[in-house]
Every structure is written in structure tokens, then in C-alpha cells.
Amino acid sequence: KELSDKELEEPLWNLQLSLIESDVAVPVAEALSDAVKQKLLGLKVKRFGAKEEVAEAVRKAVREALLELLEKASPINLLEKVKAKRSSSKDPFVIVFVGVNGTGKTTTIAKIAKYLSDNGFTVLLACSDTFRAGALEQLEMHAKRVGVKVIKHRYGADPAAVAYDAIASARARGIDVVLVDTAGRMQTDRGLMDELRKIVRVSQPDLVVFVGDALAGNDALEQAKKFEEAVGIDAVVLTKVDADARGGAAVSIAHAIGKPIIFLGCGQRYEDLIPFTREWLVDRIMG
């Protein structure tokens, strides 16, 4: 017999709940459930043991739907991109890091600085967080530990000016990469989003990287949407995946903006930076 709407109701509701329990945002869980429904309506199942068969069909369809969603984003190989720029331009490869408060932008910059210099590139950091207490000292300490220089002005200085200064300095000294750290900000704060637009406009970055917290729930969807609208996101780093987060935030973000996740932050040390793979996320979500 063929699967009908009625028979799919309960399995799809359970699917949505389990996706939500993995921190997939509610509208995204609903969209995935609809995608699964489309795949399964009319599917033929045996009369006996139908419940288990339906559950298995749902599982298979969710896996497919998740992989399809994640495949929409074309992957980025950071080292290749930086190498290509270095061989074709006198300008440094500029990456601006953005995101809401406390997601791990500064720590991620330090990790990526180490990753790039371990791979033979010269790196300069720009402290465009001129607002938060201790921001200058924090980035300075990371820079010292990783063995790279940092350009900073004073608290209250114009963040765009710091970025501009760092990029000019990198160009003059032949430094390969500039990593621009910005202050955390709520995507709902119009003034701060305007400030970020200015930083990005002045920096003309090769990549804008959105740093998101894997522990965030439904807000991950809102954050990704608004940052994408405001400044455009090229790639995503998802942090704190070591905190047992199931990773649904990555699905919400992929659904919202279709941009690749380039790294996962899996701890507080410099080596706690791992490349993202779709299989890892799908396995984790499917439990």
C-alpha cells in the first residue's frame, strides 16, 4: 500500500521534535519535515510491520534532505584561496570576522592565525573591537602566543580606521593575510550593524566570516539571516561544538544563507580547530 498523509503525521511530528532537540530552528525543522514528506508520499510499504518500515524510510529521507541542504553551499579551501591571492596580487588577503557577543570570534582568529602561519603564510591581526573592556589586551596576548603582530588603536577609536591601518601596513610590509577582529553585536542593533557595514566597506575583505555558537538555538537562524542581509557572509565557523551541542545551529545557518562552514571550534586551545564535513554534522544530528 502507499503511504498517505495520515500515516506520515506522527512520524513527521516526531522527526520535527527530534530535529528541534538537536537545536535545528523550528521553521527549518518544519521545512525539512515538508521535504521528507514530499519524498515519502506515495512510497510503497508492506502492510505488516509498516510502522518500523515507515520510521526507517523517514530516517533515510531525513539523511538525504540534510545532505542536499548542506550540498547547496560550495566548499571553500582557505589555504588555496590565500595562495591564489598571494600569487596574483600585492594586496593582503583580508578576512573580517563578525557575529554576536561571546561566540568565539577573537579565539577563532587566534586559531586561524596559527593555522595560516603553520602553513607558511604571514599574518597580521587588526583589533577592530575598540569597545569592549579587555578586547585590546585579549587579542594582543593571543598574537604574542601565536607569534604574529597586531595593529590596535585605543579604546573608543574608529574600528574601520584600525582595519584600514592594518591593511595598509600589511600591504607595505608584504604580509599575506590580515585577520580583522570586530566587536560582538546584536543583529537587532541598527547602529552597530551600520558600524559593521562601514568596517566591511572600508576593509573590502576577501572573506567575511560569520562566527556562530553551536549552543545557540533558534536565534542562530535570525543571526545568520540578518548578518547576511547587512554585510554578506562568505563562510561560517561554528564554535563550542565540544560542549555537546548536537549542531542543529549549523543546519539552521545553512538553510538561512547557504554558505559553507569552513571550520568547527572544538575547544579553547589553538589546535582546537577542525575542518567541517557534512557527514560529521548529519551523523551528529541523526544521533
Partner: protein, 292 residues
Amino acid sequence: ALGSALSQAVKKVMKAAIVDEAVVKELVRDLQRALLQADVNVRLVLDLSRRIEKRALEEEPPPGATRRELTLKIIYDELTSLLGGEKTPKVDYPRNKMTKIMLVGIQGSGKTTSAAKLAWFFKKRGYRVGLICADNYRPGAYDQLKQLAEMVGVNFFGIPGEVPVKVASKGVEEFKRRGVNLVIIDTAGRHKSEASLIEEMKTLAKTINPDEIMMVIDATLGQQAAAQASAFHEATPLGSIFLSKLDGSARGGGALSAVAATGALIKFVGTGEKVDEVELFSPPRFVSRLLG
């Protein structure tokens, strides 16, 4: 005629009951979606909605009230009672002896900023406040809290590079000498899977013996809230919760899940990055925001 009047009446009551049930079921479905979008724990949403639906169908609407109005009142009552009631929390610590509040929480949740906010809040209420930096892990943590302490104008104690238990003990001694009656101890961020950091938190609490352990919870925290809060509570019993970053778009359902899981009540909310952007928790306001 009485026979047909009776069957008409029965039909009408049955129809009303069916309509009533439909009204309640629809409200409960809407409630579920709202709470899930607000990041409330899935299990908690299912338990709550089951209980609310049962009450809404079994209880009698008071005279003049509809089944729908009764259901809405039950929703409000169930959520507020989960939060410990409607009243604003009492935070009148004694003035003639020292109270020590230790802040704990996940990395980046807002502990250091919230420590400064609490300092500002209690300084305004006439306490002699002291801030202690017991985070020797995060680069710049000492500078961050020191700068915030200067902004607020309160006593500050820290020893860059020193282990948390030593800084905290020495800080408390120094503050005793200065007549500080409210000490706020900032600690490093940690999560439940970092065994050595959880152990350090236990040791710190044992040594310092704080009067209150307050967990700072980010309003964006999703389905991991209950598990993380429970783990913290198991290691060092939580006295209260500080819900940070409520000025964003997140509705803070994770904090509700944490309250349900640990019994610790929310006392403060953070409404911005500045040290004066802190308020006492208001259950009715939180519930209405939670429901969208």
C-alpha cells in the same frame, strides 16, 4: 416535546464541548510552537502542554469567562509558577556582614560583564562592593574585569597568572580588611564536558564557600540548557540565575529550562553591553516575551 428539547440540549452541549476541545487543542498547539521557538526544552514543552491541556479541558471557566480565556490564564499560571511566582526577586543581602556571590557559566555567556553589572547594581543600593577576578585562563580576563571595576568605581582584586583558589581566598581576605560587604567572584567559562574545569569549580566553591552561586545563562542558549544547568547544579548547587543578552532577539527559553531542571530562580537579566544595563527579573514580562 420534552424529549426533542432534551436531545437538542444534549446536541448543543456536545457541540459546545467539541468546539471547546478544538479551541483548547489549537491554543495548546500554538503554545507548543511558541515555546519551542523560544528555545524551551522539548521535553518540558511536551510535559507543560500536556498538563495545560488537561487542566483547560477539565476545569470550569469562571462565570463570564470563555474556555479560551481559561486556557490562556492556565498557560500564564503554569509558566509563572515554574519561574517561582509573579513577584520580583528579593536581593536585600545583609549589610553588616560579607556576602560572597560566585558567578559560573559556559564560555562567553556574559559572566565578566554581568559581574560588573551586579557591582553597579549593588553599589547603587549602598553596598561596599568588591570584584575578584578568579579567571586565570582566558587571555585578558584580568584586564577586562579591572577596566570594568574602574568604570563602575568599586574595589577590584586579581593576581594575573595566579590559580583561582589562591586569588579568591586572598581577595576575600583583602576585602574583609576593607570592609567590603558584597563580593562578586568572576570565574572562567566552562561546560559540562570539561571534567578538569568542573572539578576546579567544585574546589573553588569548597574553598571560598560562597553564599550564593549564580549561573550566567545566555538568552540564545538552546536545547543544551537543561543538561548544562543540571551538570553545573550537581557540581556546585546553584542559588540563582543571571539571564544575559535579553536585548537581542532570543527569548530565553533555555533559562526557563534551567529553572525547571535545577530549581534555581532567575534573579537578574542583562539588557545590553553597558554596566548599567541590568534589571531585576520580572516573571510576567518574561512570560509574555516567551510567548512571543
